[in-house]
């Protein structure tokens, strides 16, 4: 009987061998073409993969470049506009001066300006003498002979008259643009030896000048240091009058910044010892959140400011973790005590360490074979997807350095520095699982258990922003600044987390 069976087996083998021995079917002609095509692609021809962080950096650099270009274009237009205005005003001044010289009673025009009259009697080239008492100035006669003799001061008076929007003869109510124009005029006059600029840092003198303002508007001298910070010709520091916008040294503001985040988690010790598996895994996370808080800003020299404050930040990050296993990584499920029924032969458990940005989470997932008649080989590949949701709340203290440039109404501001975070709450939830294998299914009645290793309570973020600020009123400023926040942390020994956030910072500040 056995021999008969053996013969049958041999017959089958012989039959198969004989059938296929000289079997040489022809594949289609396109196969070689495809092979050749594949061989023609060099191994290193694949485009270099750019990491997510690098993409963020490239994006940030491109945004910065774009903003700088726009800003440059804006200032170029402003400068060319101002140059045209200067030329126009120079012509007008010359015409006016010629007119005054040809008029016999020009002393009246000069006398109408008490400051001009007062200064004429004492100013000498290069002097910094204080101005006379306002009472004396008020008593000055329109027929003052000294005033009549100084046509340059008259020009100066006319300059102010031209510049003033309401046509009054008061000084010190020039806008900054007008001031720049005027400085050019003065520069030219000084070069010709016709004009003696007055410089003073004396507060009493400034006060006395302010009392002369006929329209009740503030009037003060510009200090040398202040004048340097205003764009314009280098002779601006010799200007005896200042812009009517006072320099604000402090700013107090509120801000809000919605952010979108991208997180990359890498395991640094894939074979670290421990009771749980540390299989290969990938992690894709995206999230959103916001920062809001108060900021205090202190002006420093050279257009710099120091910014600090207190902020509250909240973030939610949804992540999908894909962990790769072999079927041999399984183990029998725990009995689980009270409400867990005893496990069956077709039930299995996978234990693994899940690297997350809050630390390592030890997860146990139970699966069941879909068909117990099919024997799953130990080398069978399977993937378990774990979905997590992380919510964190922090208090943040930013320490930033700000650089700004631009006109008084619009500025371009760059901020950079660190944000110290104090973690208030960090909550990680495992939202769901799925197993990618046709022979296995998640045991829905057995939710995975977890234990979390918390990350450090304090962390440091790097912050960079570049954006636009607008002066709504002399005391109120609005800012809109695209911002990047980057941090790197190691919540546990084997997990390295890099997080990049992009947001739009909107802030409103009171200047004082």
């Amino acid at each position: 009987m056995d021999n008969k069976q053996h013969n049958k087996d041999n017959n089958l083998e012989d039959f198969l061998r004989k059938s296929f021995d000289s079997f040489e079917p022809n594949p289609s002609d396109t196969v070689w073409d495809k092979i050749e095509e594949t061989l023609n692609v060099p191994a290193d021809s694949a485009p270099p993969r750019i990491s997510l962080n690098m993409r963020w950096l490239i994006g940030a650099a491109a945004a910065m470049l774009c903003i700088f270009t726009c800003q440059q274009f804006y200032f170029q237009n402003q400068i060319s506009h101002l140059q045209k205005q200067v030329e126009k005003q120079q012509q007008e001044i010359k015409l006016q001066a010629n007119k005054q010289n040809s008029t016999p009673n020009n002393s009246e025009a000069v006398a109408s300006n008490p400051e001009t009259t007062a200064n004429q009697s004492t100013d000498t080239p290069g002097s910094n003498k204080p101005l006379p008492d306002p009472a004396n100035l008020a008593a000055s006669s329109p027929t003052n002979p000294i005033a009549q003799q100084n046509t340059l001061k008259e020009e100066r008076s006319h300059t102010n008259q031209i510049s003033h929007p309401e046509g009054h003869t008061a000084h010190g109510i020039l806008s900054q643009e007008q001031l720049v124009d005027r400085s050019t005029v003065i520069q030219q006059a000084s070069t010709d030896g016709e004009f003696i600029p007055v410089i003073s840092e004396d507060k009493n003198e400034i006060k006395s000048m302010e009392s002369l303002a006929l329209l009740g508007q503030p009037f003060r001298y510009i200090s040398t240091s202040e004048s340097r910070s205003i764009p314009g010709p280098t002779t601006f520091e010799n200007l005896p009058v200042a812009p009517n916008v006072k320099t604000k040294n402090w700013a107090l503001g509120v801000f809000a910044m919605p952010v979108f985040s991208s997180t990359k988690v890498a395991t640094t010790q894939s074979n670290a010892p421990g009771p749980f598996n540390k299989p290969s895994s990938s992690y894709a996370a995206s999230g959103n959140g916001f920062y809001s808080g108060v900021l205090v800003e202190k002006k420093l020299p050279h257009s710099l400011s120091l910014v600090s404050g207190l902020a509250y930040q909240q973030q939610t990050i949804d992540a999908k973790h894909t962990t790769n296993f072999k079927f041999s990584d399984r183990r029998p499920p725990h009995h689980g005590g009270g409400h867990h029924p005893p496990h069956q032969d077709f039930e299995h458990q996978f234990d693994y360490d899940l690297p997350t940005n809050t630390g390592t989470v030890e997860v146990q997932v139970r699966v069941a074979e879909q068909d117990s008649n099919f024997q799953i080989p130990d080398s069978e590949d399977l993937e378990i997807n774990t979905y997590t949701s992380q919510t964190s709340k922090s208090l943040s203290v930013p320490v930033l350095l700000k650089y700004e440039l631009g006109s008084k109404k619009h500025q371009f501001a760059v901020k950079s520095g660190g944000i110290v975070n104090f973690l208030l709450q960090d909550k990680l939830e495992l939202n769901g699982y799925e197993v990618n294998n046709p022979h296995l299914e998640i045991l829905a009645s057995d939710p995975a258990s977890q234990s979390t290793v918390s990350r450090d309570k304090m962390g440091l973020d790097l912050f960079v922003s570049a954006g636009w600020q607008a002066q709504l009123t002399p005391q109120l400023r609005l800012g809109l600044e695209p911002s990047f926040v980057f941090n790197q942390s190691q919540p546990s020994n084997s997990v390295n987390v890099k997080q990049t956030q992009f947001g739009l910072n909107a802030n409103l500040s009171i200047l004082f």
């Binding site: 049958k8 087996d9 089958l12 083998e13 039959f15 198969l16 061998r17 004989k18 059938s19 296929f20 079997f23 040489e24 079917p25 022809n26 594949p27 289609s28 196969v31 070689w32 495809k34 092979i35 050749e36 594949t38 061989l39 072999k326 879909q370 068909d371 099919f374 024997q375 080989p377 130990d378 080398s379 069978e380 590949d381 294998n437 046709p438 022979h439």
Partner: protein, 185 residues
Amino acid sequence: MHELTQEQEALLAHKCAQGDRIAQRTLYELYKGRMFGVCLRYANNRYDAEDLLQEGFVKVLKDIHQFKALGSLEGWIRRVIVHVALQYIKKQRRQSEQEEQFARETFLEEANTSVFDTDENPEALIKLMQKMPSGFRAVLNLYLLENYSHQQIAEELGISVGTSKSQLNRGKQYLKNLLEKNLAN
């Protein structure tokens, strides 16, 4: 097919390793028929078999520098092709059990009408084998036609030796029943 001497095989392999496209084409033309026959036995259909052949020859031509000329070139190429085919089988196993069941039923229905010609027409036999469950097909191919031992099959497929033996017996029984039924008819 023209048989090459060992020196000719070594020379051909050497030229292929150097990237000589004519030599590579020659090697493909020499072995494409037999290797396509191997692929057909493992694949579910002709299209999959052509994909396997393409993937296999790409691997052969990329790894041919590893050929040491200790055995025959054909044997080495066949091992590479079989390896690629086994990867394919492993992927196939991830398909749902329902598909496997459907394949078995279809196999039984069609086997009754076509097994008569199998001794004269290997393509008909191939078509029947393609409809077998992939596990049976793989073990049957490896053991009966590639001369693998059960230990080797177990290692290649990631199953136990016992499973390999069991699947071989069930696969043989599967075929024998078909043949006997058809002989009786």
